[in-house]
Symmetry: C2
Subunit: 152 residues, 2 copies
């Protein structure tokens, strides 16, 4: 983590808006284009920037249902851990999945179209696995905040 102030500024700008041109960033951080471009290239090369993505509007695309589900596996299900994780990764509706400290649970962030979409997903992709013991759904109501930006 040998990042100076300028590098942090650049990262802060790019994680808010990756469509900024090198010239615009250079201007904002008080550099000229060439050195600014070199810094950005190095930040990418060193792995600080994992990638650039477009963020889509969930609501407008019909995804009005966001649920955090806790999934508990049965005892003998622990032999199927890596199989379960591979499955999870293949489900597009699961946008995030973590194992939690203290329990043997998985927490899944699941996005779907309506309650019907969610129920169907859980039935077809989670409850149908014999080693899934329990699924507890935490349904979100309103989104107060959501950002991909880190507090740098």
């Amino acid at each position: 983590m040998s990042l100076n102030q300028v590098d942090r500024q650049i990262l802060a700008l790019l994680q808010q808006d990756a469509s900024l041109s090198t010239a615009e960033i250079a201007d904002k951080v008080g550099l000229s284009q060439s050195p600014c471009w070199r810094r950005i290239a190095k930040l990418e090369q060193d792995g600080y920037i994992k990638g650039k993505v477009a963020l889509l509007d969930e609501k407008q695309l019909g995804f009005d249902m966001l649920v955090y589900a806790h999934v508990k596996l049965s005892n003998h299900g622990r032999n199927n851990l890596s199989e379960f994780e591979k499955l999870i990764m293949s489900y597009d509706e699961v946008t995030e999945c973590y194992t939690m400290a203290g329990t043997m649970d998985f927490m899944l962030r699941i996005i779907s179209r309506g309650i019907e979409g969610y129920e169907q997903f859980v039935r077809d992709n989670l409850l149908n696995l014999e080693y899934v013991q329990e699924v507890h759904s935490n349904v979100t109501m309103t989104c107060v905040k959501r950002t991909t930006a880190l507090p740098i």
Copy 2:
């Protein structure tokens, strides 16, 4: 939602990698540059694309602690709802915040550097509010999956 197959393909590509050039996308969806560019411009204009952002590497920047915290407000705290939400939005460590169905709780996704960073954040920014009754922390261990892409 009057999106045809090509538009969906374009969105799917862009939400995976926003650094693709118009020509590359045009190639992949079987269009030439101009009409492809027009479609992308329209998708942005119509609000399907909320923005383009750079995703940074949490670990490399020292953010090794990811916690989902449930925050319960006291009864009279409900008069301070909007004040609380404004505060939440101003905290960079809180990357997401939702209200949950069934309870009066807020769920916060908090990213920080180490357990110390987390504890300090909770003490200084949540527990110091008189109307915050309870904070229950769910600490994540390993990340099985994380994506910003929607299942289109």
